[in-house]
Symmetry: C5
Subunit: 91 residues, 5 copies
């Protein structure tokens, strides 16, 4: 999984019929210092993550292993909201 921060939402009316009702969140990747990177991914939210939340994003076929996303054409899903990172060894 990758770490990221929810920074926005994608609005899309015209989409595959299987995707009606899905919330597409924009997740910027972050480092272990919580700093935002330039890269981002658009992920379906399954845990009601809000703007500013630090989250874990699961990609690929594994993104279809939640009740919500089963058999759906999505390749990234927010499956956890992060409380904190415990970094014990950095070097």
């Amino acid at each position: 999984m990758v770490l990221g921060k929810v920074v926005g939402t994608v609005w899309a009316t015209r989409k595959d019929e299987e995707l009606v009702g899905f919330k597409f969140q924009i997740v910027k990747h972050i480092g272990l210092d919580y700093k935002l990177k330039d890269t981002f991914v658009v992920a379906v939210d399954t845990v009601q993550a809000g703007i500013g939340d630090i989250v874990l994003v699961c990609s690929g076929s594994s993104a279809r292993q939640t009740t919500l996303t089963k058999n759906k054409p999505v390749d990234a899903v927010i499956m956890a909201v992060v409380d904190k990172l415990d970094i014990e060894e950095e070097n």
Copy 2:
């Protein structure tokens, strides 16, 4: 999913027989500021996206979860046309 803009089309007469009738769109990746990046992907269009449309592209096995692409040898599909991006937190 990744964000991109449809900038063109790939014409291919000789192809796997399962792909007859498919439209292969060239999608350039974009940033959250809508600026085009240098990278691109060729994706099957399932939502009748047109040139200039901002779209969401789903990759990997998830690209085969639409009615059109089921069991087909394609690894990227346009599954939504983007209306707008709501960016609420950038830093």
Copy 3:
């Protein structure tokens, strides 16, 4: 899918028994201007692409969705020979 140009062939006598008879082509990635990039992928040819052909390469599990590659240990397949690219919007 990614765009590439067939520039050579890989010869491999000792291989998984499921792969006997497969043709492994070396495909260099290209840009929308047809210029070769430094990166490449080795892909199984299913459409009799020849040296110099511009092709579409499909990767991952989707590379196993052709009649030839079903259930085979291959992760990239040439599934179309490109006639031309129509680029209508570049900026």
Copy 4:
């Protein structure tokens, strides 16, 4: 698989219900000289790896092939703790 070193843990109370009890470890990628790289992945631990351990991380759908992670929305798993690397040819 990729080589990495366990440097920390992710705490996440709110998560997909299938993930209760999972341990999410932060694994920094390393080179063949054991030096830490800047990149990292968050992986589910299935072999009780501890902080400082050198590990192998398996990604994608293959990350769901352990007893623990079967059908779960995870895309990276620690499936081995490394004893040592034997590098016999470097150039």
Copy 5:
């Protein structure tokens, strides 16, 4: 598939029980000129590749399509030993 050269071996006693007896080879990526790159992957050997061999590595779910690796938590497999590369067009 990607091209690489076997440069070493990973020893791991503590691992997923499905992986007992597997040989994990360290494969450095190479260019079409056979020069080693800095990047590498750890792959399960299914064709008895030796140190110094040039090999093809198959990744992702396709790495589980050999008799040895079926349903195992591995995401990269050496499925061919390369005899030679025929590069016919470079520019």
